[in-house]
Symmetry: C2
């Protein structure tokens, strides 16, 4: 179990003081390195022991059949699963004749540090072999943010007390054995030996292995090269086999002498390119890396991150745990997206095989809002990836007898891979979430080119989907029936408020976009009649409201469903202990749904409705999804429950550093890590953008004495610096001083014009809660930050 | 394709005039013989060609894993599949040195006759071998209704033109090769080589094979013996192997000389008994059969059937096709239930592997109403089987965190085997259907012993299930949410009218039964408070009604769902061409649901409501289920659309004789065959029993000039003889003259007292339709019987 002692609270790093094999799999996820193209779990250099060995390439997957005991029309028959590719992380060490293995001999010191500013994973070890030889080992690993196909490891071993013969085996290993997965349906299916050898080659200190998947027919190449420094004689050789390449380095070290190896790695994959082209690609990347050199890679990494933190950092005074966790989250969000470049951003990034490595609505719903404000080019890349799957989404819509495009609930490449339609295909809202992400990108960045290039088509086709899904009843209300909203414990319902409001937004945004691009939209067959039908549906959308209780209904009838009977024996997550047939018709909610609607479609609710809805829904939400705490933080903050919001913000931020959902071993929860930023910036900062302007309304919980964050907005940078008394807004140019030098924001509901280079301090609008702080279901209250 | 020419219209038999190999699999189902314990498809004696070789023993199944690409709590992990047991039907014939095979040589004559009164399948063949030898072959097969473990075949081969050497190989064959099944989800998974050899033995003309299933660990024994008559020298021997026993008979026949073999077969299986016990059991049955002799078996068969027809026959003048079909249906319903004796009655009887051989609500809902009025001891046996699975149903309820007992949606042995919960577990109505069948049995037969023995527990536990499933809203209405009614195209809904009314009935019946058995119910923990809660829920059950349209809503909101857009390209059944995610939220109905509620809970609707509901729902029902036409016949008759009712009655009756659902090859549709009786007796006879008395209100469509049927009611027999002008009611004792000699029925809504031995003629109440005859979805109109 990860405890408060596991990782000391430090602002810019995660440090593990000793090695705890019981949480090895969790720490492998926490210490994962990635650049969005290559992902490496924080496995030990020597390969074992391990929780889950993992090296991944974005969108490199294998196909597996999806079995159904009772099949149905339109069920996807093929799934996609992220594949553990050739492992280049391995450097085995023999001390005299004994292998270095943390399970044997004596581990005198073992520390690992994930450094958010250096972008490295450092490891310091002092080990005494069973025969009594002591060595000091320092390794530093990086996956380059500047060089997309490159990773590198600096490996330094030192003899401590006496002359020691040291042998290092640096390897590429394909088709590693994988541990068996759990029965938990959320843990991914793991494939055994997915890589078929294509070719292998070695030469002095260099080797390349090329493999291909059996069914998806993707080819991958992994290559390594080495720089070796050592005083005295050294023997070196490299061999290669189908699934193994090994460079062996042997030398003798006097006490204090060091063997230093820099291992350069390069990776590539392709579905199209030939074996020689791929071999040349990784060879070229490897040459480039050696040319740059270890220090050059380190410098470029730090430079990349300096730039990122300059624009993205969130400073939290008064709660050092959240300070650490939000930076940890931002670091991983950056790692998962920085060089994804028109590939998916999976729910777990490239940190594990959880959810089969699939991307969900998490991307557009939680990760992209953060990137749009902090790393907009990465947001654009992710949206271009979505748009690149539009034809597949069109085919899926045709298969389901629908117009437009139906994007997949879960996928790697773009094909629908969800085998359970009530919580997959029926969750149509993913389409509106994608549309909203395009629109947010346009509004926040001011960049119209994405819409022109590909966004318009996505908006039109998703609008068409909604129109063919919905219908008017005989009284003129427009309904969406048989849909599943974000809450996966209440599925296949009528008029889910979240879905209906998001669909209406999708329809309106598409209509406006067609007016902006009238020629292009005409070329796509859009007529004024079609646009009018979209607007009409949006205007007449049914939003269920319980007049008696004065609250919205998450879906039609929700407030009259059976209440869930929580007992002291209730076990969470409910989905592992209760059947869907019981959960669906009850007033028990897995994750923010109506609450999320009040965040994303903030202007569709009055302040009183928000307060009453939070009061009604909080006691019914069990947070069995990691996509809930951050949103609950945002709404609790808005309606004045600041301490509760603080607790939720911590829960979102600490999800993986404290393994709160007990599945960090399968990979990190990217949406929740992004959610830490959302909880702070949209929660305590009050950021909203659904009215087309940046709205802020900060208010801090007692313990947080200062919150400072940066937002990009149309070429400007807005710095928001909040204390308990006031907020100081500063606007700066963001590299481009040709843009307008004034920015009108909305502060606490009132327009406020800011000019570049100036700071304005304004008092906070005091937040008074309309209702007392709500309770949660038994066992579901978040851990309070005070008292 | 089965055409009108395939089986000539004859009142007491189904005769196939020539052999059409294209419909071999269908004819194997039509010509299946069974006694409810043993089932034999109508495979050719020589084993091939075949569509689907099949020999079954009731509840002899194998377990198979149920795979889920995305698992969920409470999903059954093991399925049960009916197993093709040792085939004893095979008698291969060599004519000189050429095997008799209908695909070679010249088939000069081939006729098969299923005789409803003899209870036999007869086959007459004249064949000329490729070498020119002509033989005449006559075989008669029976599965004994009088001797549960016994089947027999009389096999007579005659030389026609010249001296012929004849070799007959009479076999027992285990683990026959099975054809691959189709992709249609409704076709059963077929297991390969499910039988593991345990022992085999042979002796002169006799052999026994004993096998065991791998996972379900059921043991089965099959044995054969022979009587052989032939002029002149004959050689005989019998061998046995693990999966084969063969008796070979060789003789020479002069023209006109015959070889006659009577093959006696006996079968048994057990999960408990030892191999020797089982071997002795089949040996004893075989000895008994030989002692009875072929003629004795034939006589007993006819006697059994004479008795059955005397109490069950339905005479239809004016529509000879329906006349034939309803007798065909009654014959198969009898076959499937006669000697089931506390085993399940599967949806396809023992006529094929469709639906894996599972029993559904079809049994209690469609088959038992017929048996209760015609063969009540078989109905009681079936209900005792259900009650025997009560502990499994209790366990299932516990697993789902519910009180009481949850009977399985589909099963062989009693465990839930449904792998798709929205159309399985959520179809809770099966529990109320079972409760209603117990209550109908009690009311119709007057036999209180079944309730005392086991029915009371079933009623109590199902009532408890309903109470824990439902809840009151804050206005006091009692709801059942997240349920699936009979219509599998509209699933997981709120307040399905059928389910709600049936649940209310279940609750009331349980309350009344507890009052009748107050001591026993107290022993089961029932208190007056619990009974009061049952009555309260029943009294406050919500029944959605659309005031604007003046019709009931099949479920909450149904009449405001999207209308299905039928086009000329719409393909049926919809489930093979459209996704559930589209079907569920649309006003498209697979099968009678609200319409069925109006039949089974007839007194919960006014005449006008029935008329308006039929008018509203008819154009939305596509009849993709075989459980629909009979109910539509009943309600169309009730509201005055007699010609439409006639068309539906024919469709229900002819489902297998005309292969209307294109899957008769997988087995017969027992519920629809029972439905032919229901369509005639409840439709044109107007029989209702949901008010506790026999209600009749006959009215005939134009073409049917006379309808005569018999009903058992509390020890009496009521004969109903309807013409277009009047109905003649006759009451007789039914074997027991100690019962009351008066019977008060309700005729056309008014009480009418009848006395034993007298016939009363009363005029019909003329039926006037309130509304014009409704339309059906394009392509879904039943074939009209006139014009």
């Amino acid at each position: 179990m990860i405890t408060d002692d596991t990782f000391p609270v430090e602002p810019w790093q995660v440090r593990e003081k000793t090695l705890d094999l019981d949480i090895l799999a969790q720490s492998e996820s926490v210490f994962a390195l990635s650049n969005g193209h290559i992902g490496m779990r924080g496995n030990l250099d020597e390969g074992e022991p391990h929780g889950l060995p993992g090296t991944y390439l974005n969108s490199f997957f294998e196909i597996r059949p999806l079995p159904y005991a009772e099949a149905g029309y339109g069920y996807p028959e093929e799934g996609q699963t992220l594949v553990d590719v050739t492992n280049g992380k391995i450097l085995r060490l023999l001390v005299d004749d004994e292998p270095f293995d943390v399970r044997y001999g004596q581990l005198e010191h073992h520390e690992r540090v994930l450094d958010f500013r250096a972008g490295t994973l450092r490891r310091d070890v002092r080990w005494r072999s069973p025969a009594g030889r002591r060595i000091a080992l320092t390794t530093t690993r990086l996956v380059s943010l500047a060089h997309r196909g490159v990773a590198a490891i600096e490996y330094v071993v030192e003899a401590v007390d006496e002359f020691t013969r040291v042998t290092v085996q640096s390897e590429l290993v394909a088709n590693e054995d994988q541990p068996e997965t759990s029965q938990d349906p959320r843990a991914a299916a793991i494939l055994t030996k997915p890589l078929q050898p294509v070719s292998h080659d070695s030469d002095e200190l260099r080797a390349v292995l090329i493999h291909e998947t059996r069914y998806s027919e993707l080819m991958t190449a992994a290559a390594m090269d080495h720089d070796i420094e050592v005083p005295g004689r050294v023997e070196k050789n490299t061999i290669s086999r189908e699934d193994l390449a090994r460079t062996t380095v042997i030398c003798g070290l006097q006490p204090g002498q060091k063997l230093r190896i820099v291992k350069y790695l390069s990776y590539g994959w392709s579905s199209l390119r030939s074996r020689p082209a791929l071999a040349d690609q990784v060879a070229g990347a490897l040459d480039g890396a050696r040319y740059t050199g270890w220090q050059g890679l380190l410098d470029a990494q730090r430079q990349y991150l300096d730039h990122f933190w300059d624009g993205a950092d969130v400073e939290v005074e008064g709660d050092p745990e959240i300070q650490q966790a939000v930076r940890f989250g931002l670091f991983h969000v950056l790692q998962t997206s920085a060089r994804a470049e028109r590939r998916a951003i999976p729910g777990k990034g490239l940190t594990g095989t959880g959810y089969d490595g699939h991307a969900f609505w998490d991307t557009e719903g939680f990760v992209l809002p953060v990137l749009t404000y902090t790393q907009p080019n990465a947001a654009a890349d992710a949206l271009r990836w979505r748009a690149s799957t539009l034809d597949l989404a069109r085919q899926r819509a045709r298969e389901l007898d629908l117009e437009g495009a139906a994007f997949p609930w879960r996928t790697i490449r773009g094909q629908e891979c969800s085998a359970y339609w009530p919580a997959g295909t029926a969750a149509w809202h993913v389409n509106a979430d994608i549309a909203a992400a395009f629109e947010r990108y346009r509004i926040v960045t001011g960049d119209e080119s994405l819409e022109a290039d590909c966004g318009l088509q996505v908006l039109i086709e998703t609008a068409r989907l909604w129109l063919s899904l919905g219908h008017h009843d005989r009284h003129g209300a427009w309904h969406l029936d048989g849909v599943t909203g974000p809450d996966e414990y209440t599925a296949v319902v009528r008029d889910n408020v979240f879905t209906n409001l998001m669909a209406a937004h999708n329809l309106r945004v598409a209509a406006d976009a067609c007016n902006r691009h009238s020629e292009a939209s005409r070329a796509l067959g859009v007529t004024t009649e079609e646009i009018a039908a979209w607007r009409d549906a949006a205007d007449t959308v049914n939003v269920p409201f319980d007049q008696g209780l004065g609250v919205h209904q998450q879906c039609e009838g929700f407030t009259t469903f059976k209440e869930w009977e929580f007992t002291d024996e209730t076990q969470f997550p409910l989905l592992l202990h209760e059947s869907y047939v019981r959960l669906y018709p009850a007033q028990v909610i897995k994750q923010a749904d109506l609450i999320l609607a009040m965040h994303w479609r903030s202007h569709s609710f009055t302040a009183e409705q928000k307060a009453r809805n939070v009061d009604y829904y909080e006691p019914r939400m069990v947070r069995d999804s990691s996509l809930s705490a951050c949103t609950q933080a945002v709404l609790c903050a808005e309606v004045g429950h600041l301490e509760l919001a603080h607790a939720y913000a911590y829960e979102a931020a600490a999800i993986d550093l404290r393994d709160l959902h007990h599945n960090t071993k399968d990979g990190l929860h990217m949406a929740s890590l992004a959610g830490a930023w959302i909880a702070l910036v949209a929660g305590f900062g009050g950021l909203r953008d659904d009215d087309g302007v940046p709205e802020l309304d900060p208010q801090l919980p007692e313990e947080i004495v200062r919150l400072r964050f940066r937002l990009r907005w149309k070429g400007l940078r807005l710095i928001v610096d909040v204390t308990h008394d006031e907020v100081r807004y500063t606007v700066e140019y963001n590299g481009d001083d040709t843009v307008d030098d004034a920015l009108t924001i909305r502060h606490a509901g009132a327009d406020l014009t800011l000019t570049v280079g100036h700071t304005r301090a304004v008092p906070l609008q005091p937040r008074r809660a309309l209702l007392p702080a709500p309770s949660q279901p038994p066992g579901c209250s978040p851990q309070r930050r005070r008292g």
